[in-house]
Symmetry: C2
Subunit: 575 residues, 2 copies
């Protein structure tokens, strides 16, 4: 059974351990259990007492479709609570090939210790001086690693923001196209890595042990059924591969739920200029690619390659939430500027959702004008430089609000809200308020039921049913994140009567253990319990399960809907 | 009965109201009751829903010794909880002379609205354009107001830090020597005033109605007894007037409790160079003044006038905590540099305790070298300028920690700890942890019992008795703050068997209402209940009643004492 690798970043000691009490867990369930058990809830997130955990899901290493998502967990510098941040890339599937189930970075050296690259092989770890890539943006630093380790490179790394512990810092992962374009974006996991003075993890390219299912025959059958479920649903087989997640720009705008000018309006008159349709058209005209998977084994292919006007690669993983954050939230309507901002965020190693909202706050505070894309690019470019304004931006919305004296801050538990106005999509609003992750849409994506009419239909303007749907989605999501599956499988699983069975069969065949809908739900529930327990010990109460007050006091045009849930009314969304 | 004046800073409407449900309350009891009743606990502190309350104590306007302290209350931008910040100056005694009991600033205009000066007279309020003093430091701005309003000026104002809503911003008050040298320092009240776009409050110099006691004869006698209590105790009659509060530098250093180099050591080898004795010697050599009162009617006279090398006025109100924060905390041993930093803080309008600790964090993060006084002066000087580093500094310790990636942050509930290491003075440590004010020594000054042997003797290195003493002191302090008395009266009241009676007699004679030790205690208990209730609704839990973990994991030299209280063990210190 793959082992847990613990690395002490201060003493440079390491050990490979049996899974022990963590056996049977993967992905988010594993990172959250370990953080809850081993990290003092009241420690400073940048202290040596925090631990940074990398884990693939239960299905990591298998050939099950869309099972290669990686989880990164720690106490979050952004929220002060527990965090799991989820990413594509090659990392998750590679770990079991080194006979490793999870990597835990512990302790930390002095703040001025030189940055290190951790070279991780099957039975040893080397601390290698990272002086040649220290301070570098992730794309050029990743190119250096490619030169050194070759084309089979599988790395996780931080950018200049993580190096100086900006609270919005990401960890960037190698994607299947030799780019560091996939992000564990939310909650500042890159700052925790930076505090431990680790610039990059490199997984030994030369070791690639074969991972076999516990029941290879059953797996073969289950795997096929599973692919059929995913390729049989219109969202996962047409919408997402056709236009990427940005297909949502027009849909959410049409629904009056596209937060515009720092959550003042529900529609953006320039939405068409930044839509998925516009992006797809631009990509095709410039010889990019409209479909790519973020990891090997993906059959949905919602990523893309976006080229600049000269036809050169600019960015990928260009998500709806990024386009919204840099676009409608800031009144920026130039898709090329938005794409450039996405690239800068990946390069500096900062979360695009947090950055878009932070730029809006800078606009709110008069630091740069509304809608000025060039000024926004300039602001992001200051991150990781000697300019202290960059330090302010790299720390996200609440921090920038403090620096600029702005009180209109769309955050929950310190993390900024994504691309769905909670007043018009109340199910996702309940998720924002109650998930232990802080303001987050993926944790319980009720946009399905409120807008897309997938998995049922619940009015997003009304209260009825939205606490319940958020709870059920939060459980299902925690389980999906623990299996290592891409969240988008949920579209198909929710709508296909064979979906849950096919998913469970794949897991059972891979692990050789009983896995039915009951185990799936228990996996999610127990994961959430770990997270809520940690947050409680960290000082969170029901009072923290609230949206900023302006959502309750201002009506959202065009539907003039308000936020009308009290914290108490939403407690039912927690397990 | 003096009225409550409510001023809407957005609409520019105002009204004078009867005291109503707030009758009988003064100072902190009044500000905390009003904030708890009227401010939504989960509002943003810089939003229009927050209210900024100015109030003198129950004894304001009277000639009782040391009864002229002012209270400023609001939801704190620094702690996120309720706040009362206490100051000397002429403001408190002046209010009843305008027949005003308290002033409440409500709502707020647009963020780019021009700054205003509020001219407040007996029956009217004028919003006057503050363009001529906008952006100015408080000393020159105060000089401008003196020119305009004459020598009888009584003002409260913010500096450039408050104008841009730095979370460590003070409100500066006119002292008896025509200087804006008294601060409501802690908790960022100046940022709340800045968010409401008010640069200064000016109390009409031409109105000065006589305030008479309810029972003038009884008051005359009680007043004399009260003076005798204060002038009869060695601390209030010799120690404090002789050397100011900085008399504590040597005493606390000797006790091994002077937090040195960001709370790493309990003694500073250069303590003598920054001691009260050294300050008094320097003041005398330069023709300054070693004794001054912070308000009319003070018989303790712990303030002073500190001149520079050329004999020109530099600063006053040069407190022990300031000297410690700029000195031992940062390893700066030049008393002139420290005095200059004190002046800059008053001028920019920032809290000296928060700033000293923030500079130590900047040193921790490698921004400037340890012990470099010139660099520290330069850093403080950036506040209120276009340099974004100034915005980081003006937001205090936790904020600077975020910006500089530092995890060694000596704060409780977001407010930095003062000049007594909690490991060696555990009674004050319990206060730091449990007071609703955040890290604060004045809220329950167990230094008396732990070090000075005033009001009893309790070992500051051990747990025994320290929860109880902190609780009792928190209650007494809340009552003293509500009466408008200077906290230092406690030295005499604690030790003199006639102290409590004399104090109560003064209050009863002034108000004409029964006031015994029971009413005194009830005043304090009810005030604390208001504060704890607000904080609970704002999301604080018992888990927030803790010191940063490094106090529990690192022993403090030279006595090698640790912090060993759990949050639960300290709950008994709360009413």
């Amino acid at each position: 059974m793959p082992r847990i690798l613990r690395i002490n970043t201060r003493t440079k000691e390491y050990r490979f351990e049996e899974q022990g009490e963590y056996a049977g867990l993967g992905g988010r369930a594993l990172t959250s259990r370990l953080v809850n058990k081993e990290v003092p809830a009241n420690c400073h997130p940048l202290s040596g007492e925090n631990k940074l955990v990398f884990a693939g899901g239960v299905l990591a290493g298998s050939s099950a479709a869309n099972s290669g998502r990686a989880s990164v967990g720690a106490k979050s510098p952004l929220t002060g609570g527990i965090k799991e941040s989820n990413s594509g890339g090659l990392f998750a599937h590679k770990l079991p090939k080194l006979d490793i189930h999870a990597i835990v970075l512990e302790d930390k050296p002095e703040a001025d210790a030189p940055l290190q690259t951790l070279f991780i092989s099957k039975d040893k770890v080397e601390f290698r001086d990272a002086g040649d890539i220290a301070g570098m943006n992730t794309y050029p630093a990743h190119d250096k690693l490619l030169e050194e380790y070759g084309d089979k490179l599988v790395a996780a790394m931080i950018g200049p923001s993580g190096e100086y512990c900006g609270k919005a810092s990401t960890i960037q992962f190698t994607d299947p196209y030799k780019r560091p374009a996939r992000s564990a974006g939310r909650g500042g996991m890159g700052a925790v890595m930076g505090s431990k003075r680790i610039k990059a993890l490199v997984l030994d390219p030369e070791v690639n042990e074969k991972v076999t299912a516990a029941d290879p025959e059953a797996f073969k059958t289950a795997r096929k059924d599973w692919v059929n479920v995913l390729t049989g649903h219109p969202v996962t087989s047409q919408g997402l591969p056709g236009f990427g997640t940005a297909v949502l720009v027009n849909i959410i705008n049409e629904a009056g739920a596209l937060p515009t000018k720092n959550f003042r309006f529900g529609q953006y008159d320039k939405a068409a200029d930044i839509s998925g349709e516009k992006i797809a058209e631009t990509i095709e005209a410039r010889g990019g690619k409209t479909k790519e998977g973020c990891h090997v084994g993906c059959v949905i292919q919602c990523s893309q390659q976006y080229n600049d006007k000269d036809g050169n690669y600019l960015t990928s993983g260009f998500e709806y939430e990024t386009v919204w954050a840099m676009g409608a939230a800031c009144l920026i309507d130039d898709i090329d500027q938005i794409a450039q901002m996405d690239r800068i965020c990946d390069d500096k190693g900062v979360d695009t959702i947090e950055m878009g909202n932070t730029i809006a706050v800078a606009m709110e505070g008069g630091i740069i004008p509304w809608g000025d894309g060039e000024a926004a690019i300039d602001l992001l470019s200051k991150i990781g430089t000697g300019d202290h304004l960059g330090r302010i931006i790299a720390n996200g919305v609440d921090f920038a609000g403090g620096a600029f004296g702005v009180d209109r801050l769309p955050t929950v538990k310190g993390q900024s809200l994504p691309a769905y106005d909670p007043r018009a999509v109340k199910g996702v609003g309940v998720t924002y308020a109650t998930t232990p992750m802080g303001g987050d849409h993926t944790a319980g994506y009720a946009v399905c039921q409120n807008v897309l009419k997938v998995g049922g239909e619940i009015d997003g303007h009304k209260k009825e049913g939205n606490v319940e749907v958020s709870k059920n989605l939060q459980i299902a999501t925690a389980a999906i994140d623990s299996l290592g599956l891409c969240l988008f499988v949920a579209f198909a699983v929710l709508d296909d009567e064979n979906g849950v069975q096919a998913m469970c069969d794949v897991v059972a065949a891979h692990t050789g253990l009983k896995f039915t809908a009951d185990e799936f739900i228990a996996l999610g529930v127990n994961c959430l319990k770990d997270e809520l327990e940690f947050n409680k010990r960290a000082g969170f109460t029901d009072e923290d399960d609230q949206l900023p007050r302006f959502f309750s006091t201002e009506k959202l045009p065009p539907h003039d809907v308000e936020w009308d849930f009290s914290a108490q009314e939403m407690q039912g969304a927690k397990v």
